[in-house]
């Protein structure tokens, strides 16, 4: 019987660059920046690293295929380096590889590093959907973009739960108000300005019903983690952070091609969440998960994720949002660092950026006192890659 990953692996060092439109930084610069902070935090030397996992999604925009760019940028000494790519779960997949590498006993110390250089495309937003989905899809899929794909979930959510566009947009606006509040206080965030509900509701429409402030930013960034076996971790630092669960779930096609999915939730999040809670021994996620960084590529994504992760009852997230449950001072803070909303979403880095925030919060080391969440026990990160009807979800739970 499989035992899962719970308490077998610990994080002993992490690094995260400032995220933003970093016109002066190459992908390699970002890798070095994240690696430097990570190594200083872990207090180890490069020769201590036995193996590495490297996450990057749009390789053609930046580093090319394979994992050589990481080995070359960091001058890793002929150790195994594996590249992971699994849409927005790319960085968490790199982390999962490193964790499984040390948990298996194959290695003592492993590096996971994710990077994405998005701002060399020449346009805002990400490249269009069909071009990412292979030759057949390029000829039959709608010419959709990420905002459009997730906007369809908002349309559906409003329809299923009987919200008129005004009510629906107001609910979503509150999600972004909260994230901007948190991001404004985070020196590493890309967007550091608070916005009001009215600004959000009156912003230009990107993909109906989502407006500009319902969409996360697009930025460059990198984040990294050093992991080791849990029983070794205290040799490196007094406050290592333990991995409690790592789960991934992928769409089976029934959302897109079968007619049972309601379009108002993400099935993979629900499935991966259930497995992660079992792995971590969490019985009541609403009560036991102290805080989370979820995949708020769009405000609607965060809203339905609250339901899919069982933080809110199905169809009832609006009440929790309105009650301020997920605010920084609420009972279950979500996106304490500002989320994708304010960090932007360099695909290959985001998952590790989320774990970085959970790691720092659990250690009590959020940069500024007003950012620190009081006594968190368990932090959850969640990535959703692809589109609501066809996607990949990764979930990590970490704790003391």
């Amino acid at each position: 019987m499989a035992e899962g990953i719970r308490d077998k692996v610990a994080i002993i060092g992490m690094g995260c660059t400032k995220f933003g439109e970093l016109w002066d930084k190459s992908a390699e610069d970002l890798m070095v920046d994240a690696f430097k902070e990570c190594m200083e935090d872990a207090g180890i030397e490069k020769k201590d690293i036995n193996s590495a996992w490297f996450g990057v999604h749009f390789e053609e925009q930046s580093v090319g295929k394979g994992a050589t760019s990481l080995a070359l940028a960091l001058k890793l000494p002929f150790i195994p380096v594996t590249r992971t790519e699994n849409f927005c779960a790319t960085a968490t997949e790199a982390f999962r590889g490193a964790c499984y590498g040390v948990a298996s006993g194959a290695y003592d110390i492993a590096l996971a590093l994710g990077v994405e250089k998005l701002k060399d495309t020449g346009y805002g937003g990400l490249p269009g959907g069909p071009s990412l989905m292979g030759t057949k899809n390029a000829m039959i899929m709608p010419k959709l973009t990420a905002p459009g794909a997730f906007a369809m979930m908002a349309t559906r959510y409003f329809s299923v739960y009987g919200l008129n566009p005004e009510e629906g947009k107001r609910m979503l606006a509150k999600v972004s108000v909260k994230s901007h509040y948190n991001g404004a206080r985070n020196p590493k965030a890309h967007l550091r300005r608070e916005v009001t509900e009215e600004q959000i509701i009156n912003a230009p429409i990107i993909a109906w019903p989502l407006g500009l402030f319902d969409c996360c930013g697009v930025s460059d960034g990198s984040a990294a983690a050093i992991v080791t076996r849990a029983d070794m971790a205290k040799k490196f630092r007094p406050d290592p952070i333990r991995v409690k669960a790592l789960q991934v779930a992928l769409s089976s096609g029934e959302e897109l091609m079968y007619t049972k999915w309601d379009g108002a939730h993400v099935e993979t999040t629900y499935r991966a969440g259930k497995l992660a809670y079992k792995e971590a021994g969490v019985k009541n996620p609403r009560e036991e998960i102290s805080m989370a960084e979820v995949h708020d590529c769009f405000s609607i994504t965060e809203a339905v994720t609250m339901e899919d992760l069982q933080f809110s009852p199905r169809g009832k997230v609006k009440a929790d949002i309105e009650a301020g449950r997920f605010n920084h001072d609420g009972p279950q803070p979500i996106q304490p660092d500002g989320g994708l909303k304010c960090f932007g979403h360099p695909i290959g880095a985001s998952g590790l950026r989320m774990i970085y925030e959970m790691y720092k919060q659990l250690q009590g080391k959020a940069q500024l006192p007003e950012r620190q969440i009081k006594n968190p026990k368990l932090g959850l990160t969640h990535n959703l890659g692809g589109f609501p009807p066809m996607n990949i979800v990764s979930i990590a739970i970490v704790g003391l």
């Binding site: 000829m139 559906r156 079968y258």
Partner: protein, 480 residues
């Protein structure tokens, strides 16, 4: 008896009001006659309209009976790659059929019809679908801009259950240089209008009709309906007078509602005549272009059995004013518009994959699980029903003639589009099956969750660097 078994038509939703055109081109001294003409949407062309007309013509009929497809046009997108073979694939016709393109003259519509009738009479094929379609590019500011319209007609020719029997034909051919377009050229050239009118139009139509009457010993008064294109309103009537016909016998030319649809013109008028025809009616059809063809039909009792068709009348009624000349130019790529850098991203069409997946991409076929009965698009080998999962238990299942409802949708302002926002969504098909599609011929405000839609064959892109016109199916609100 050989004759016509079914009819259909396609007219794009958009109309260009000649007032809009006048405002745009009057400075050039071009004064369009009052009225409007049908203009293709940005994703429509000759082939998409031919498919539309073919679907209308074949509605309620078994597509397996069709063993020939003739396309007639002067505006085919491909010079090499058979346009009729592409249309046959889009219509999901069987591969054991004869396909042919009739091109190069506005009489090609009647010539294709005549060839189909002769082929069926010769017993080598049983049921030939003829689609005449034209979507001609006219130079901005030219008289053709208001004269030409976009549209298609379709007729199924066979030798049983005919709704109109074929009685005979007569043709004339002249190398008449009224209009011409050399290989590689974008626009037609035209000689002086008075020359076309006096030396061609007025002469050839009268000659070919007189020839038909004489050959078969018929009288012009025998015909309930006389169909020939109306390039010049006054001469249109004058020809009838010269032939001894009553103006009441003349079929409406569609000139002020649709425009001159080139090779499709006489066949669209014939379809309109058939829509109103009674058993026993004789219909005379003549075309104009490098001479012309004339033919005579007699309507049978079976005309009463033709099922519901959009044909010409319903297509004319279901319209929307394009309202913007600039949009019209942009749709035809006559004014290069900035789509942003996203619009410059170009993926080369993998032709071998296109051929391998032709049933999925061009025929909109998926599969239906023989074990659990679930229809699924695109074709799957492993059943998508989570309670089934059978492997290789599939049969072909065509979605193109299935209606559905909007499951969800958006209007996307970020996606590169010549007509933003890009509207797309997921469609749940009647009878099962779900997939996502671009939507067309609709406005964002009118789209709702649960709205009924139908599938329509459209041009997806033109890749000028590779000379590829790519096509796929889109969802559209059900046209009245």
């Amino acid at each position: 008896m050989v004759g016509i078994k079914s009819y259909g038509a396609y007219i794009p939703r958009y109309r260009m009001d000649h007032g809009t055109l006048f405002m745009a081109v009057a400075f050039l001294g071009t004064f369009p006659a009052p009225g409007e003409n049908a203009v293709a949407n940005h994703d429509e062309d000759t082939l998409t309209m031919a498919v539309g007309a073919g679907i209308d013509c074949l509605s309620g009929m078994k597509r397996e009976i069709v063993d020939g497809l003739y396309i007639a046009t002067t505006s085919q997108p491909y010079m090499v790659r058979q346009n009729s073979a592409l249309v046959a694939t889009a219509l999901d016709l069987q591969s054991s059929i004869r396909t042919a393109d009739f091109i190069g003259s506005t009489k090609s519509g009647t010539t294709a019809l005549l060839s189909a009738l002769d082929t069926v009479r010769g017993d080598t094929l049983a049921n030939i679908l003829v689609c005449a379609s034209d979507c001609r590019l006219s130079k901005p500011g030219s008289p053709q801009e208001s004269l030409y319209g976009d549209g298609a007609a379709s007729l199924l020719v066979g030798n049983d259950d005919v709704i109109a029997t074929f009685e005979g034909a007569y043709s004339v051919s002249y190398d008449f240089p009224d209009r011409w377009r050399a290989s590689g050229e974008k626009f037609e050239h035209a000689w002086e209008d008075r020359f076309i009118r006096d030396s061609g139009y007025s002469q050839f139509i009268a000659e070919v009709i007189s020839g038909l009457l004489k050959k078969y010993n018929l009288n012009i008064k025998d015909f309930a309906r006389i169909v020939y294109p109306g390039l010049y309103a006054r001469e249109h009537g004058a020809i009838a007078k010269k032939l001894g016909a009553d103006p009441a016998q003349l079929q409406d030319t569609l000139l002020s509602t649709v425009g001159d649809t080139g090779s499709a013109s006489p066949l669209m008028m014939l379809v309109a005549a058939l829509e109103d025809a009674k058993p026993g009616d004789r219909i005379l059809v003549a075309s104009f272009g490098d001479g012309g063809d004339a033919m005579s039909f007699q309507v049978t009792e079976k005309i009463k059995n033709v099922g519901s068709r959009r044909a010409v009348r319903k297509h004319i009624a279901a319209k929307k004013d394009l309202a913007s000349y600039e949009k019209y130019l942009a749709f035809r790529n006559l004014a290069p518009m900035d789509l942003g850098m996203r619009g410059e991203i170009n993926i080369k069409t993998p032709m071998s994959a296109l051929f391998r997946e032709r049933k999925v991409i061009l025929s909109l076929c998926g599969s239906k699980c023989k074990k659990c009965g679930t229809p699924q698009y695109p074709y799957q080998r492993v059943c998508v029903n989570p309670d089934c999962g059978a492997i290789d238990q599939m049969e072909d299942y065509r979605f193109s003639d299935r209606k559905g409802v909007v499951f969800t949708y958006t209007g996307d302002n970020l996606a590169a589009s010549i007509d933003p926002p890009s509207i797309y969504g997921l469609v749940d098909f009647d009878g099962g099956g779900r997939f996502w599609f671009d939507f067309t011929d609709c406005d964002l405000d009118s789209v709702k969750v649960g709205m009924p839609v139908e599938m329509t064959f459209r041009r997806r892109y033109v890749d000028e660097s590779s000379g590829v016109h790519g096509y796929s199916w889109k969802a559209a609100p059900i046209r009245a």
